[in-house]
C-alpha cells in the first residue's frame, strides 16, 4: 500500500513539476493598434405633421373652408389716377404709373429650376372709381425673373363707375386662365410682376376738356391681388442650395472627426399623404478645385400620394429610404468646403396631372441612425 501512496504522490508531483510555460507574452511589444467598431442603432427623429403644422394660415397662406390652400399676394395703391393725371399727359389719356409687385420670394426662386405649372392663378384689380366718365384701362403685365421676362397680352377693362363725379364706385376685374395666359406667367416663377398701362376717359368730357376744372374731384385708386391656388403639377422641379461644410472637423480638436466613422446610415420611413414626391442628393464640393468629390443620392425619399380625378390625395404612400455614408464618403469630408443639397420634386403621376394641396394632408415619418464609429484605443 505504501507503494500506491508513493505512486500517487509521485503522480501529483509530476503534474506540478511537468507544468511548463506554454506561451510568452511580451507586453512591451503589445500592438498599439486597438480599436472597436460597434454598431449602434437608434431612432433619431419622428413626426406626424400636417401642412397646417408647417404653414400656418396668414396673409400669404390661406386655407379655404374645404382646407384648400391658396397663396395670396397683395399690394395696395397699385393704381392711383387723379384727374390731374389726365391733364398732365394730355386730354383723355393718363399713364398708369409703372411699378413692381414684389412677391418676396426671390431667395427661394433663385434656387429653383425645372417645370412647375400653376393651373388656376388669378390676378384681381380692386378699385374705387370716382370718375364720372367711363374709363378704359389698358394694363401691361410682365413677369421678371433675372434678365428674363414674360409678358401677358394687354389687359383692357372698363372699371364700373357711378357716373357722378366724385362718387366712389367700387369694383374689381380679374384675369385668370379664362381670359389670359396668367398661368404661364406665374409658372414662369417670376421674382416680381411689373405693371404699367394707360387709362382713357370715354367719351370725352362735355366741357372743360384740358382745363381740369370739373375733373378735380375725380379719381381712381386700385389695388392688386394675386391668388395662386395650390392646384399645380411639377416634374423634377429642382431646389439646390449650397452650404458651408458643417461635417468638416474643427481645428480645435473637440469636434467629432467624421473620419472616425466607418458607417453612418440614416434609415427613413415615411407615410406621405402629399401628392408630392421628393428626391434628395447631397454632394461634397471642393470650391477650390471646383469639383464634386462625393455624392449621396436618396431617390424617392418621399413618393407622392395617389390622387383622385380631382387631384386630391386619395391615399398615402409608404416609402423606406436608406442613406448610407460610408468610410469612403467620410474620407472626402475634410477635403470639401461646401455641401450642395439638391431636392427634386414631382407631383403625382410625374407631373402629368394637376394635384391640389390641402391643409389636412399629413406626413408621418421616422428617421433612425445606424452608427458604426471606429473607436480608436491607441
Amino acid at each position: 500500500m505504501k507503494k500506491r501512496t508513493i505512486l500517487i504522490i509521485i503522480a501529483v508531483t509530476f503534474l506540478l513539476v511537468s507544468s511548463c510555460v506554454k506561451e510568452t507574452y511580451n507586453i512591451d511589444k503589445l500592438s498599439d493598434y486597438n480599436s472597436l467598431s460597434p454598431t449602434y442603432a437608434i431612432s433619431a427623429v419622428k413626426g406626424d405633421v400636417s401642412l397646417l403644422d408647417m404653414l400656418e394660415a396668414g396673409d400669404t397662406v390661406t386655407y379655404g373652408s374645404d382646407n384648400f390652400m391658396t397663396l395670396v399676394f397683395k399690394q395696395d395703391s397699385v393704381i392711383t389716377l387723379q384727374s390731374s393725371d389726365f391733364l398732365a399727359k394730355g386730354p383723355l389719356t393718363a399713364e398708369i404709373e409703372p411699378g413692381d409687385f414684389d412677391l418676396g420670394m426671390q431667395d427661394i426662386l433663385n434656387h429653383i429650376t425645372g417645370d412647375i405649372y400653376f393651373s388656376n392663378p388669378s390676378l384681381t384689380f380692386t378699385y374705387s372709381n370716382a370718375f364720372a366718365a367711363p374709363l378704359e384701362m389698358d394694363v401691361y403685365i410682365t413677369g421678371i425673373k433675372g434678365s428674363d421676362s414674360l409678358h401677358l397680352d394687354p389687359i383692357v377693362f372698363t372699371p364700373a363707375g357711378s357716373g357722378v363725379a366724385g362718387q366712389q364706385e367700387a369694383g374689381s376685374y380679374t384675369i385668370d386662365n379664362t381670359n389670359s395666359s396668367l398661368p404661364d406667367l406665374i409658372s414662369f416663377l417670376p421674382e416680381k410682376i411689373h405693371y404699367s398701362g394707360d387709362a382713357y376717359l370715354l367719351p370725352p368730357p362735355k366741357s372743360g376738356g384740358g382745363t381740369g376744372e370739373k375733373l378735380e374731384t375725380e379719381n381712381l385708386t386700385g389695388s392688386i391681388e394675386l391668388d395662386i391656388p395650390m392646384q399645380l403639377r411639377m416634374n423634377n422641379l429642382q431646389f439646390a442650395d449650397t452650404t458651408d461644410n458643417f461635417l468638416k472637423s474643427d481645428d480645435n480638436g473637440d469636434a467629432i472627426n467624421p473620419e472616425d466613422f466607418d458607417l453612418l446610415r440614416v434609415d427613413i420611413s415615411a407615410d406621405n399623404g402629399f401628392p408630392l414626391g421628393i428626391s434628395l442628393s447631397m454632394s461634397l464640393y471642393d470650391s477650390q478645385a471646383q469639383k464634386v468629390l462625393k455624392t449621396i443620392d436618396a431617390t424617392d425619399l418621399l413618393s407622392p400620394a395617389a390622387v383622385d380625378s380631382e387631384g386630391k390625395s386619395s391615399s398615402s404612400t409608404q416609402t423606406n429610404t436608406t442613406i448610407e455614408l460610408t468610410n469612403d464618403f467620410f474620407s472626402s469630408v475634410n477635403k470639401a468646403d461646401n455641401i450642395i443639397f439638391t431636392f427634386k420634386m414631382s407631383t403625382s403621376g410625374g407631373g402629368s396631372q394637376d394635384v391640389k394641396i390641402y391643409s389636412d394632408y399629413r406626413i408621418n415619418f421616422k428617421a433612425s441612425l445606424v452608427i458604426k464609429p471606429g473607436i480608436n484605443l491607441n
Partner: protein, 488 residues
Amino acid sequence: MKVKTRYILIIVLTLIITDVSAQNSQVGYFMNLPQNHMLNPALRPSNSVYVGLPGISGINMNINNNYVNFSDILMNDQASDSVFSFMHTGNNNATVNSFLSKIKDRNFIEPEIMTQLLGVGFAVGENSYFFLDINERAEGNFVIPGDLFRVALSGNESFVGSTIDLSSLRASMMYYHEIGLGFSRNFTDKLRIGVKGKLLFGVGTMKLENRALGITVNDDYSHSLAGDLTFDVSAPVKIYTSNENIIDSVNFDDNSIDAGYLSGTGNLGLGLDIGATYDLTDRITLSAAVTDLGFIKWKNDVSNVSLRSQFDFSGLDMLDVINGTKTLDELGTEMADSLKNSVNIKNSSKSFTTFLPSAVTLGGSYTLNRYLTFGLLSYTRFIGKQVREALTMSANASLGNVLSASLSYTMTNHRYDNLGAGLAVRAGWAQFYVMTDRIPVTWNRIKSDNSDIILPASWNTINLRLGMNLVFGNRVKTKKDKPMVTVQ
C-alpha cells in the same frame, strides 16, 4: 503601449482573474485536516488538539472564471513577435467576435476571502470535539450579463427585435467578522453530529438587487427601458439626491475607517453550520452538512436607493421644431429631462438584512483499506437565486497521521477538466498542508521591462490553499475490525 489600451486591458483582466465559484476546496474534505469542520462540523481531525494561528493556519487563493482564458485576451503574432489584444485593429472584428463567443449569458464573479485569525479545536473524551474559530470573511457576488459585453463591444444593432437582457446583473459585497463555536459528538457507534453556531459582526456591505432591467430594441430602432433596482449600502458612504430625486453625489468618508469602525458591533448577525456523518458499513461512510445558514442585520451607516424606470424612446418628435415652437436643442433637453423624470428614485436609511450564501454538502466515502479511501462529494452553494454545483471524485491516501494526500477530479462551473491534488504532512506538532482544485499544467509568462509574471494558461479554475496548523495529541484511529486471524 498607450495608457488607454493598458487601462482597458487591466479592467478586462481584473474582471476575469477573479474567483467565480469561491467554494471551499473540495480536495481537503476527505483529508486529515482540522479545517474540515468548515465544510462539515461533524468532521474532526485525528489529533486531539489543534491551534491555527493568524496568517499561517490557512491561506486560500481562488482564481476562477467561467468565460475566457488569457489566450482569448492577448494573442502572440508568431510572424512579427508582437502581441495583440482581442481588440486589435484590422481583422474585421474576428478577435472581438471570438472573445464574445466565449461570453456566457451570465458571467459570474464571486470572490471570497477568508482569513482565520484564530482556530482552536480539542477533543473531550473519545467522542466529543469542540472547536472555536475567529474568521475574517469577505464575500462578493457579481453577475455580469453577457448582453452587457455584447452591447458594449458589438453595439445594439444585433439586438433589434429582442431585448438587451440585463436582468441577471447582480452585485453584492459583504465584509464581516465571524466567531464560531462548534461541537461534534458520536451519538452512536455510527452516527456523528456536529453543529457550529456563529456570531457575525458586519463591517460593511453593498447590495444591488435587480428585479428587472432590460432594454428592448424594436424593429424601428426605438428603445424601451425597464428597470427596477434597489441598492443598499452599509458603509461610510453618503448618497445625496436633489429635489428632483436625481442622485447628486456619492461621498465616501474614508476618515471614519478606523479601528473603532472595523470592530463595531452595530451590524449583528447569526449563523449556523450543522452536519453529520454516518458509517453505513465498516467501509462506507456517508456525510451531509448545511453550512453558512445565517444573516446579518445591517443598521450602521445605512443608505438605500430604490430606482424604478419605464422609459420609451422612439425619437425626438419634430412637430414642435417644424411648427417653430421649439428648437432641436430644447427637444434634446426635454428628452433628457423625461429620462430623468422617468427614474423614480427613493433615498432612505432603513436597516436591511443580507443572508449568507449557504451551502449543502453531501459526501460518501469508501475505505478500501487503512491507507486508501475513495470519496464522492457534492457541494451545492446557494447565492440568492443562483445555485452553484460542484461534484468531486477523489482518491485519498493516508499514512498514519503523518501524511494525508488526495487526488481529485471535479466537475464544476461547466468545466470537466479540473484535476486537483492535496497533501498534508505532519512533522511533530506542526502540520503543513497544500491543496489545489485544479493543477495548472501549462503556464504563460507575461514579460515586460519591469516584471516577469507567470500565470496559468487556463484561468477557469485555479485554486491554491496552503497553511500550517499546530497539532497535538496525534493519534491513529483504532480500527474496530477484528483480525481475521488471531494468534494466541
